[in-house]
Symmetry: C2
Subunit: 245 residues, 2 copies
């Protein structure tokens, strides 16, 4: 049985203000929680799961984690969950400091004002698939510790280094090729085997800001044969990476 105070505390972590105050975040679900525990990037503070789930996962979790395993009822999980369909387990993790982004001799992703948490999470997951180690976010990107981000990364949050920076200032300091996803560039099929560079993805409706677009080395376009006005930011990221990596 979860105390009222503890339940309220976890609910408070749905909000950035309270996550920031305690320097923690929550993650949920059968795939996400074990992956984040294993990744060791984030120190796990508590795992709250249904009896059945905890029984099934205790042995494997204990290899990486020796904190509290709190048994809760499904109705209690529904109360503390940030998801519309809660999924057997929720965990609290300490946030981690981003490591300095080392971008030499590899491809990294730069996000300019990505606002949708589901998009950020899916971009992190896609980056992880393609072995991208660093994502550099503009300061006004959605927060990586939003519960919906953790959810849509499907565990990749523990494997990609995510840094928030003042983007124009930071980009101005880099001596590396800048590739922008844009509607008026060269076809993505012309970019092959790129070994080093930053791939810049812009805001969901406004694209890349003018200030940043002016710094760009090359614009990359995904040729369109149909009618849609644009592609989803995460889909565009995946397509470009699949061609240039």
């Amino acid at each position: 049985m979860l105390s009222k105070t503890h339940s309220k505390y976890i609910q408070s972590l749905h909000h950035k203000k309270f996550r920031d105050a305690d320097n923690v975040f929550i993650a949920e679900g059968n795939k996400v929680v074990p992956e984040l525990v294993q990744s060791k990037r984030f120190v796990c503070m508590e795992i709250l799961g249904t009896k059945e789930w905890l029984q099934q996962h205790e042995v494997s979790l204990r290899k990486y984690y020796d904190g509290p395993l709190t048994e809760i009822e499904t109705f209690e999980l529904e109360k503390i969950s940030a998801l519309s369909t809660p999924n057997q387990v929720l965990a609290i993790f300490k946030k981690a400091e981003a490591a300095p982004a080392i971008i030499d001799k590899k491809i990294s992703i730069v996000l300019d004002t990505i606002q949708d948490p589901g998009n950020l999470g899916t971009i992190i997951r896609t980056a992880d698939w393609f072995g991208i180690e660093n994502i550099i976010c503009s300061a006004n990107c959605t927060e990586m510790y939003n519960p919906k981000v953790a959810q849509s990364t499907m565990g990749s949050l523990g494997r990609v280094n995510i840094t928030y920076v003042n983007l124009p200032t930071w980009l101005a300091q880099q001596e590396i090729s800048l590739y922008a996803a844009a509607l008026d560039g060269k076809p993505v099929q012309q970019f092959r085997n790129i070994k080093e560079g930053l791939l810049i993805i812009g805001n969901e409706s406004k694209g890349i800001s003018k200030e940043i677009m002016e710094m760009v080395t090359e614009k990359i376009t995904i040729p369109k044969t149909g009618e849609a006005e644009s592609l989803n930011a995460a889909v565009a990221t995946g397509i470009i990476l699949s061609h240039i990596v």
Copy 2:
């Protein structure tokens, strides 16, 4: 001022049961509503918008639509909206019968048990980008008229023909190559300039069902260089289309 009855009626359309009863659905947002009105695929029944939005769009909407334009306050829109951040306008449309899917001499998409409305919407948008005319969904895919689907298609719902079928039975009747997105196939880079076929995308966690996998001509894999267990279904669809189209 929206009557209580009318407000409740629109709220009821967040649920499939009531959408089915009246054969209508709702769509929202500054991009989505005008695109669906213009597409003429769905008959628009009513547009409810803020005063400012209606003033700005009345002339262009009236080229395609002569039904009611209902002025509502922001707090009323918040009540009837199915979105977490409502966006100036909501409209009610009649559902449309799917046209028979003509799949000869082109690439079409087949979805096996796609459950997340955001994924379905993003797949429809991606299909529209690549000029795919038909999406064939298994009967247990999420419903195309879910408000979150319309939202994430960003208007493409009016341009792609979406049919729900008994998938194993339907596939067994087709004499065309079946390409499955799978983790154990040939690299996507080996598939170029495919002119005809069905691209099958499987469920978010279980992939393509065994029964359907047994009918497949070729399995297509997106080579992985990192650690993520899988890619988001919409991202995978976009990547494969960008290589094979």
